[in-house]
């Protein structure tokens, strides 16, 4: 008998006004697997993550985590389910009114998983895990470079040791070397914690480094799913066009002239 998926989506649909953003998404993510979701801008990748997180309510469909339909949970239990998910936002989304250490400790204190002293100690531990000195904890997020902000955002996402991790464009805006460093940290942390991860990205090198499995979303539908290692030679015309960055192919960009 096959293992129950950690995350299972069935028929997830979301519409904003006239625009159908998610058109019946079906997706399974097995436990301790890293799933990379690729797709063009506006294809619905971020909306998909936000639906799973509960930040956006889908119009139809079901989202199961460990076999439990989170869309039908009472608010308290929904909040508890969300607390098991760590999220790395595209631009870091660090709170700029508080220090780096307070950013990292924020979730631990909000979830009452630690005292202030314990949270501070945990912040220093995770800063070390992402390759930053403890002294960085006293800085403001605005004092950090883009790469350091991403590392702090990763530290914040993993501080409470979540069993599910989401990464929204983790390497966007970083140089290739820093991108590889962040990917390495993500892979290392996901394996170390035994977490299940979903990453959305445009960066093919990053997708192959992070992912065990990959899926492509186009016009709100999953058009391909397979091993991340086969992304560059998937045999699917859409995936091939996207991964090789070809202008001609089944995906037509809507350009106004």
């Amino acid at each position: 008998m096959s293992e129950t998926p950690k995350i299972r989506l069935r028929g997830v649909t979301k519409r904003f006004g006239d625009k159908l953003v998610l058109d019946g998404i079906d997706l399974d993510v097995a436990p301790r697997t890293s799933m990379v979701v690729i797709g063009g801008s506006g294809s619905g990748k971020s909306v998909l993550l936000k639906c799973i997180l509960g930040l956006i309510k889908p119009d139809a469909g079901s989202i199961e985590i460990d076999g439990q339909d989170v869309l039908r949970l009472p608010p308290k239990e929904r909040e508890a389910a969300r607390a098991r998910i760590g999220m790395l936002f595209q631009n870091g989304a660090l709170f700029d009114s508080i220090s780096v250490a307070d950013n990292i400790a924020f979730g631990l204190l909000a979830q009452k998983k630690a005292t202030k002293a314990e949270a501070r100690q945990r912040a220093e531990e995770v800063l070390a895990q992402v390759g930053l000195a403890a002294s960085v904890g006293d800085l403001s997020p605005a004092e950090l470079s883009g790469g350091m902000q991403k590392r702090v955002a990763l530290a914040r996402a993993i501080a409470a040791v979540p069993d599910i991790l989401f990464f929204d464009e983790p390497t966007t805006g970083l140089d290739p070397i820093m991108g590889a460093v962040i990917d390495g940290l993500i892979t290392e942390q996901v394996r170390r914690m035994g977490s299940t991860a979903i990453a959305i990205t445009h960066d093919m090198a990053s997708a192959r480094r992070i992912g065990d499995r990959a899926a492509m979303i186009h016009k709100g539908r999953i058009v391909w799913e397979g091993p991340a290692a086969s992304l560059m030679d998937s045999g699917n015309e859409m995936v091939d066009q996207f991964t090789h960055g070809r202008r001609e192919g089944p995906i037509q960009m809507e350009l106004r002239r």
Binding site: K50, L53, L55, E79, F89, Q90, N91, A93, F95, R156
Partner: protein, 246 residues
Amino acid sequence: MAACEATGRVTLFAVLGLTHIVRPPFYGRAFLRALVEIGYFSLPVVALTAVFTGMVLALQSSIGLSRFSADSAIASLVVLSITRELGPVLGGLMVAGRVGAAMAAEIGTMRVTDQIDALTTLSTNPLKYLVAPRLLAGIVALPLLVVVANILGVMGGFIIAVGKLGFNPHTYLADTMRFLEVGDVVSGLVKAGVFGFLITLMGCYHGYHSRGGAQGVGAATTSAVVTASVLILALDYVLTELFFTK
């Protein structure tokens, strides 16, 4: 129809924000930070506004009242105008420009940079963490500012009356106190509390619902100041009717 929808959305936002003031967890540090930002840092602008308003009021009323040989009424006119109307209204408008705009810009930036979504993912209700402490701080800070504005406004009138118009200082102060009633001060402070709530509500609401990057944040800032200012003037009339019309 759109106006009804907008009113409904603002009302719901206000009710949710207010209920979070009394429901734990409480964010004491966020409240104190907002109190300092709204109250302490608005002191200079509110103080200057009050002093000059008191001075102008004394000067203008002396010009008008001297035509009826009623100069002795200047002291009571200044103190009643300041405590009942000008202290809370002008103080509210100045704070709306300074704090309402800053609040909408800060929360709006948090919205467009995903910081509000990040709060939710970190088990924190954004209404409880961002909105409730600011609403409470606005309700508390504005009356305190208006107390200061009342004193300084009367002082401004005193400076002109004594220094320029030749009033006896003791007589002027005695006239000031003679016609002032507790209700005059209390009504002004109640107005200030309502205005403080409106300013922070508009700042939080427009910031919280801003969309579309820097342009959206700019639009939210403008909307926060404009709606708060108009609401202050409109509610001032309603409250004046309630307090002083029998």
